[in-house]
Symmetry: C2
Subunit: 342 residues, 2 copies
């Protein structure tokens, strides 16, 4: 095979968004090799200019024809755009790696965290889904713990950064805080309530059962990724906090098997993509500010849970734009290339 | 009895602190009647001037003699000061109502949330303890739910405001955020890490079991206040968030009895000191910014927990300086007066 044949033609859809830009950064960092690359976006952003590897490129409007000849699409352009283009791209032979929630629970679409369930990629039919940010970061430590102790029940409370809600939300946090600092209240627009010096216990819309969609994603996506059946009980409370980048999660897990925090800490130290930051004697534990811009999922505050006989508590922090979105998207593309699934 | 005899001589110890000032506000709001009032503080703050009911008063240094003739002390001056003066004051016949953690787990000291376990006040021997802020706000909804459904297990994640750490912490949040907004990192001092645009999963020092003292307070104080035995399992993860006033808590409770969220919502609506703010169809739920400066414990996001067969999830928000500290201190004083326990 020639070099050309071994390297895919890549398209980045939604290249101008918060996650899209991070995908471009990580394509460079991870030295992803390709034959050609193109940058796609909605008609609104089409025609704008984007810098990649020191060169300016024109963003092209996403149309059916734009996917002709493309092998792998890294998409982060929202659910509606993915619904519109993923089936088209797949029908043209593309592997469409989607950041949106549109296809995640589709039984024909693998939902994958690279390093956790890459084997599921083999079943793809042209579309592969990237899990939601709050689920993604948790899968790396949880996979390792599940293999050793078998997860029975999990309760998660999140502390989620505004960047998960896009550029408008990032700017709103700044505006809100600046307005409050001169003693004025702020009229929110990206959020339902002020996010400056506040926390908001709603992310995404509400479901019939009183949980938000964001919370149910943790339940349903975790089950799909780790192949849990319905007997594994998972609940989440998802809360937005005034942090720019970095989601944090307070996690309590009950296991089938006996668990000990010292041993679990060693298990987590060897877990792929995980970095243990846990030395309470020296006040060492992860915070989102330290995790921003970095690739590992940081785990600290590891302790035997006093709520369960076989339980573990830990605090899990990661860059939501990376492992929660762009990094995993690029890693999936790399697995697809490596496993020759395109 | 004459009017004079029916009204106590009051002392506010730690009158110049964040909580002390709020005690003064609430003494006025709640129209607490007294024969005399004096304002005590450490030698550092003694001699300074304080305004109360429109008049300036001089803050007096706390000494053994300062408690002579005082009937009720409302104390918020830190654990060391309480350890120093509470036994002295009690020996002089004062009722010493203490905000610190110094005596909370002492078996001779009632730990009381007014409206929840006032009966325990009858056993006081001169010292009464006010629970920790993160426990306090949870007791009002939990008492009502426990009476109906019997608590078996509880998992709490907190989102705690900086005002719980005092004036220095409040100022540090402002300084930190301002510094970050001009693109600079901040060197923290009140906190171990930057609190601006960050969350910190440590409040108070660490215990042997890996939990912080703050987290163990939720376990131990809840058991004492609601007379739970060791079979009731309670765990907490306590996290500081960049909010000035208002603690939030994501709470999952497993009950002995069958629970339904619709019925539980009605139970909570009739709970003393609780206000249900829960209409997700209209995006109505509590946030700390809305709770600041107010007396109720706000409860929203009430839903059947999908983690337990008989479980309930809810989000509980309150002004940490009020129900979590000053308001409950004043209410205890009012109960002591009403129940003639001084």
């Amino acid at each position: 095979m020639s070099d050309i044949k071994n390297k895919p033609n890549i398209a980045v859809l939604g290249a101008t968004g918060v996650v899209g830009r991070e995908i471009l950064n990580i394509l460079v960092e991870n030295k992803v090799e390709y034959n050609s690359i193109k940058f796609l976006a909605s008609s609104r952003s089409a025609g704008s200019s984007i810098e990649f590897k020191g060169e300016k490129h024109t963003v092209v409007e996403a149309t059916d024809e734009a996917f002709d000849g493309v092998n792998i699409v890294l998409a982060s352009a929202g659910g509606e755009t993915s619904k519109r283009f993923a089936p088209v791209a797949a029908s043209k032979g593309c592997v469409f790696i989607d950041n949106s929630s549109a296809f995640r629970m589709d039984k024909d679409v693998p939902l994958v965290i690279a390093g956790v369930n890459d084997e599921d990629l083999k079943n793809h039919k042209g579309i592969i889904a990237n899990p939601n940010c709050s689920t993604s970061q948790l899968m790396l430590p949880l996979k390792a713990l599940d293999e050793k102790y078998k997860v029975k029940r999990m309760i998660v409370s999140t502390y989620q950064a505004v960047s998960g809600a896009g550029l408008k939300a990032i700017n709103e946090l700044t505006d809100n805080v600046k307005t409050n600092l001169i003693g004025m209240p702020y009229e929110p627009s990206a959020f339902k309530y002020e996010i400056g010096f506040n926390v908001i216990p709603q992310i995404d819309v509400f479901c019939e059962n009183g949980y938000t969609k964001e919370e149910m994603k943790v339940t349903n996506e975790t089950r799909k990724i780790l192949h849990f059946d319905e007997s594994v009980k998972i609940s989440c409370t998802a809360v937005r906090v005034p942090v720019y980048i970095g989601h944090s999660e307070a996690v309590t897990v009950e296991f089938e098997n006996k668990v000990d925090s010292k041993e679990a800490r060693e298990v987590l130290k060897t877990a792929w993509g995980v970095e243990v930051v846990d030395d309470t004697n020296n006040f060492i534990y992860p915070t989102p500010k330290d995790a921003a811009g970095k690739n590992p999922v940081y785990v600290g505050r590891i302790r035997n849970s006093i709520a369960f006989d076989n339980g573990l508590d830990f605090f899990c922090v990661a860059d939501n734009l990376r492992i929660g979105a762009a990094l995993n998207t690029v890693r999936i593309a790399q697995s697809v290339i490596k496993m020759n699934l395109w």
